[in-house]
């Protein structure tokens, strides 16, 4: 556990130092796995953990984005910070909803697995469509 946590911190630190954003997802996967694999916690702690992961990722990407010589007017960072905090906060209720739904006792079957897989594909397709629409607008 400690080794994995240390590795995650090291990867994230190296990524930030060398400005390589590719290190951040790896560190996130490691940190996420640290929480999920050992005990399978289904408490509100997992919700907070997920939001904290997003916050960590956002701050890490932001620090990599901010480089180069430029003059920055005061207050430029406030809207982004507020937006990130708002999205992190907005992610809590749906996470609680997912956590509550996980407690519902549904027998595992091929049909339910197929429905889940279809939902995942649909979710990703929906995101891709939204991204494309936004890029062309």
């Amino acid at each position: 556990m400690l080794a994995a946590a240390g590795a995650a911190i090291l990867i994230l630190g190296l990524g930030l130092l060398t400005r390589r954003s590719g290190a951040i997802p790896i560190a996130l996967v490691l940190v996420g796995a640290l929480h999920v694999i050992p005990d399978g916690d289904r408490s509100i702690g997992t919700v907070i953990y997920g939001s904290a992961l997003l916050l960590t990722a956002e701050l890490a990407y932001w620090s990599i984005d901010e480089h180069g010589r430029r003059l920055v007017e005061p207050g430029v960072f406030v809207p982004r910070l507020l937006a990130i905090l708002a999205v992190v906060a907005a992610g809590i209720p749906p996470s609680v909803l997912v956590l509550t739904a996980a407690d519902v006792d549904i027998s595992r079957s091929a049909a339910s697995t197929a429905a889940g897989a279809t939902a995942i594909v649909a979710c990703v397709a929906l995101l891709a469509a939204m991204a494309r629409r936004r890029m062309t607008s």
């Binding site: 997992t46 939001s51 180069g68 007017e73 749906p94 979710c123 995101l127 890029m135």
Partner: protein, 420 residues
């Protein structure tokens, strides 16, 4: 116009998809819980109002002197969602800026003006820009980049030095001016004495000389006349490094010579002889100086393999009594040939050699360079044998006044060959 998607959106999508698949495959809903904030983030990022930022570049002046500064203002208008806008200054090699890009927050529907100082490094018709405006949305998920509209032209005039002395032409035009002619006639400057002949005015009698010699003698003067000067700019080839080059020096010399000759009421014409032949018919006055400087701004070296000789220049541009002041790096055979041709046609030619050696730093002991220098020495000697002074100008190490002095000294001691 370019739009970018932050690479972290791809990473979040991949992470969320992996977590959801893991949750489904291993029956671990905690993974889905961990993925949910990322999915919410993606949803919020994609649903937001699109970015639409415009920029316009304006300069506070359209005309400026070389070495001065001009203020550029970029006005950013936001027609879309509030955005963090990064404005990159519109610097180029000839229009430099030390300003760093500026980032500011521009709310929806707001306009912001950002100013930069641009320093004009060299004369010419300069285009400001391209300046770039880059906008990031509130979450930094999307970036929108577009070049700023309007790249205004800036006319940067060369600094015109005033010369203390000028090369006097061998023959003047018979129009009143400030130049003391070599000929004899009515004027102020005493030239000689001669015996009185019928028709001479009584006031021109030199009574002392007449008393001494016993017969009436009259004074003769040098009349004050103006000159026809043709500035012959050789634009076939140029030695250039960064913003300094032989054409740059030639333009400065032409501007200084034109300015000084025109203040002496001489008639100055300009011939830009190169890949593109252009000219300005000779005329006196201040307006002509503006015309010449404007024409010089358009001067550039256009590589051409076409053989162009002096017969391409309109005859009325080259009056018979004109002093042809050639400003040439003596690098192209066509330019050299034209000057020799002019001399052969009996024109009073002076060559100011804009030294290409001042532009580049070369090993002075290298054999090819020594040979090339010898060739140039031979060329100078050839011109001088024909009575054409060749004065070398190493700008910025030598003052143009010294070059003019050198030509004056040559013409004082050397006898001009009347016709070759």
């Amino acid at each position: 116009m370019t739009r970018y998607l932050s690479p972290r959106l791809h990473a979040y999508t991949a992470l969320a998809a992996i977590a959801l698949i893991g949750a489904l495959a291993f029956g671990r809903p905690e993974l889905a819980v961990l993925a949910t904030p990322f999915l919410v983030f993606l949803g919020v990022a994609f649903v937001g109002m699109p970015l639409a930022v415009d920029g316009e570049l304006e300069l506070d002046r359209e005309r400026v002197l070389e070495g001065e500064s001009v203020r550029a203002t970029i006005t950013v208008s936001n027609r879309g969602a509030g955005a963090r806008v990064e404005v990159r200054p519109p610097g180029t090699e000839r229009l430099r800026t030390n300003a760093r890009p500026i980032e500011c927050w521009v709310s929806a529907g707001e306009q912001r003006a950002v100013g930069f100082e641009l320093s004009v490094e060299r004369w010419g018709v300069l285009a400001a820009g391209p300046a770039v405006v880059r906008a990031h949305d509130r979450l930094g998920a999307f970036t929108f980049e577009r070049p700023v509209a309007g790249a205004p032209e800036l006319r940067a005039y060369p600094r015109v030095d005033r010369l203390r002395r000028l090369v006097a032409p061998l023959r003047n035009r018979p129009v009143l001016g400030s130049q003391v002619s070599r000929e004899r006639g009515e004027g102020i400057e005493f030239a000689d004495l001669r015996p009185l002949i019928p028709g001479d005015r009584v006031r021109s009698i030199n009574w002392r000389a007449s008393a001494r010699r016993g017969v009436p003698y009259v004074n003769m003067q040098h009349p004050e006349q103006s000159a026809d000067v043709v500035l012959f700019l050789d634009t076939f080839a140029e030695a250039e490094r960064a913003v300094a080059g032989t054409l740059d020096a030639a333009v400065h010399a032409a501007a200084a010579l034109a300015s000084t000759y025109l203040t002496r009421r001489d008639r100055v014409a300009l011939v830009s002889f190169g890949g593109v032949l252009s000219w300005l018919v000779g005329s006196p006055g201040t307006t002509q100086l503006y015309r010449i400087v404007d024409a010089l701004l358009e001067s550039h070296v256009k590589p051409s393999f076409r053989w162009t000789d002096i017969t391409h220049v309109p005859v009325q541009l080259l009056p018979v009594r004109a002093l042809v002041l050639a400003l040439s790096p003596l690098l192209d055979e066509r330019g050299i040939g034209a000057l020799l041709d002019l001399r052969a046609r009996g024109y009073d030619v002076v060559v100011v050699e804009i030294s290409p050696l001042a532009v580049g730093e070369a090993d002075s002991h290298a054999l090819p360079l020594r040979l090339w220098r010898l060739q140039r020495e031979a060329l100078r000697a050839r011109f001088e044998r024909l009575g054409v002074p060749v004065a070398r100008w190493d700008r910025p190490h030598t003052d143009l006044d010294l070059v003019v002095q050198e030509v004056i000294a040559f013409r004082r001691h050397a006898r001009a060959v009347p016709r070759v």
